[in-house]
Symmetry: C4
Subunit: 244 residues, 4 copies
């Protein structure tokens, strides 16, 4: 760790009266996501990149009880792109004992570096998981069309919004024993599906991103809505994709 | 835009200590509707007409985070009835950059001008969408009878309340790529079904109105309840309409 | 109306700093019941009897927005037991224009006079309504056994609590066009099923009571839980009643 | 009862400004659990052991309305391990009339004494109950594999966390008429399944514990998530356990 900031400089990175400061937003949004069933049991979370700083929640803690002083801050420009088990550069490590940065760190970095995202959300939403369970085991992606909520989703998560007549496609990758080990397969899926606004992880959840935290959140809501209605449609034996 | 008000006069249109002021109500009700799952992912909203003023939320923003200062105010008496792409007259445009008035504007106007409504709500409720999905593709309307909650719904949305022994009928129209393009088919359905208190939009949601915001909201709740129970009944193969 | 109290005496009946005052409780509990989906769209409510006073919410208003000053107060000792269309004696009528007492008044009185209840709750819970819909049209009652939550329910709603090995039975009566017209059939069902803690109304909801508001509320929760799980069991083709 | 503390000493055991004091936590967590549907209708609750003190909620009260002054405090070192009907030693009994300690007391003690747990939660979650109902009547346990949320669960509730590739197994015991009478069969199941982090009770709910209240709560959430998704999977005829 190449941290050269004083304690005061480190605290200044996360303590702010501005409710829109990333450290305040992460705390507030995690409480909201908990109510949505996205981050129950310490799972899931959100990371925000603001300019050259990346704000991260700790790993394995109750997400609805995070406080700004628990937030890690990393320089976006790392000595090396975060990989499973790699060393990371930090600007701030919380002083509370026993906290380590989110295990999703290299996955969030995929969104930041490959898509230029400003925020990335990871949820364990049951709608996402049930959707993967209702697909064949070797399904490579989920497709849905002709839903108004598709219009809230952007090409690649950061481009133009889709049209009602576009078919939304989201890749599904297999889960791994260690969360960080999803890094490569997530990156490969992002390469193969450049227009996809999210990555579904079988029996696990979803990663979704956007240019800003607002776009990441609203796309997360649109996608979760689509996952939920797709599950209902599959159980009712309704086709997910229609001809135009 | 024929706006001749000073900045102070414009602000006075939306800043008020009265919780029942339309700008405060729209902000509060959108938070409530978010909890109900009606306006997730920036979708849906509510417009209130008070005398000669119409209050509108912005388009494409998080509805649960709207503040009174984000509200547009339009004269109800427009140079021409709002149509897709038409120019609108404004009394107030929020100073926050990048906001435009709700894409539902001409649809809300249908309720104001054709029914004399004082408020119109648009939701993306999954109950409404699933209900349209469980109907045949060419179904023209949804019908239900013998439900206590029917008694909370008014003839045409603004007349006398229905009886337990009345059959409620709500037209279903097809969705379009651009929300404004629903204007004509919604108006045509309102003409054809003068007693209908709402318009369902296939794979999209519902428009519901009332004489006042209270009536629009309570009818929205009664209808959403009926959509939800109708979905459950269809999945359980129970008939929606009974003989008296 | 035989109201002889001054305006100040009337206000003193509902304005209190005590959160356990019936006028405060009704307002608070209706907000809670709204979150539970029991009183959406102005439906449902609660009445509390405290000694010789009965506290009632108004009819046809948003139950989650009731304030103490909207509460009606009636003497429990009426000139004649409330019946559909009968005149009632009041101690306090809210000054807000257009309010009338709950249409459930004579139904609440059934619980007060026939069971000595101290509170009665009426809900439009979808679990209650779906349960009646999943029963045959001529079913006279709902029965369930071997559920821990049965232990939270009292014989006749006001006696000893049931055991895990007791079968709970709740009569189902048919709905009527006017809510007050349920008065007689509810009373007849209470006579025929003296141990029943509640009355289900087909395609409408449930009436449940208790010695106190706490017992009415907790029994309402236990019963709503049982209605919900019974619906799930019926849809999964599981029997509701087991042999001991 | 061998209580030798003064009234002031007793009050000091539960009155604290620290939100992390067990008496404050139990009150707050019960409100949270109520929102999750875990402790509706007075059912369920949580007990916290801190060093030599055990904090218990009262029996048969609305769990979402518990206040710190309603909490019982017992020495963990009892004259004899709590059994059904046995006498208990108390450090503090609430002065409010009519309160008795939770009927789950000897069951919570199983977790404290057999696993060294620091907290034990009991819920009536419908997901737990439906899961037991969807198992054959003589099923001894519930098994699930290949779910990310399994990773939030610890071996025996207090050891190392499980891996994605581990199969989670939780015993199911039969319910009894009196809650305390579950004490022996719960202990027997804990003996037979030393790795199990919880005990399911057929037609009743679940007991789950952890080293701390945080671990008990987050494991309770992970397990409730798994119960919920297992119910959905069983209804969709998906297998709960996969080969590696």
């Amino acid at each position: 760790m190449s941290n050269k900031l004083t304690h005061e400089e480190q605290e200044a990175l996360v303590i702010s009266d501005d409710p829109e400061h990333p450290a305040n937003l992460i705390s507030e949004l995690c409480r909201e996501f908990y109510k949505l069933g996205w981050v129950t049991g310490t799972g899931g979370g959100i990371s925000i990149r603001q300019g050259e700083h990346v704000y991260l929640a700790p790993s394995g803690v109750q997400k609805e009880r995070i406080k700004p002083e628990h937030i890690f801050v990393l320089p976006f420009a790392q000595s090396s792109v975060p990989k499973p088990g790699s060393k990371r550069d930090f600007l701030r490590i919380p002083s509370k004992k026993g906290l380590s940065e989110s295990q999703c760190t290299p996955l969030f970095w995929n969104a930041f570096s490959m898509r230029g995202a400003g925020a990335c959300i990871h949820t364990h939403s049951q709608h996402a998981v049930m959707l993967t369970l209702l697909h064949p085991r070797d399904a490579q992606s989920f497709k849905i069309s002709h839903q108004e909520m598709i219009k809230g989703v952007r090409i690649g998560g950061v481009g133009k919004t889709l049209s009602f007549f576009n078919t939304l496609e989201i890749p599904i990758i297999d889960n791994t024993a260690v969360e960080e080990d999803l890094t490569e397969s997530m990156a490969a899926a992002m390469d193969k599906y450049p227009d996809a606004p999210a990555i579904l992880v079988r029996r696990h959840g979803v990663y979704v991103w956007g240019n800003t935290w607002e776009q990441a959140k609203t796309q997360g809501e649109c996608l979760d809505y689509l996952f939920e209605i797709a599950v209902k449609m599959l159980l009712a034996k309704l086709p997910l994709v229609e001809d135009n």
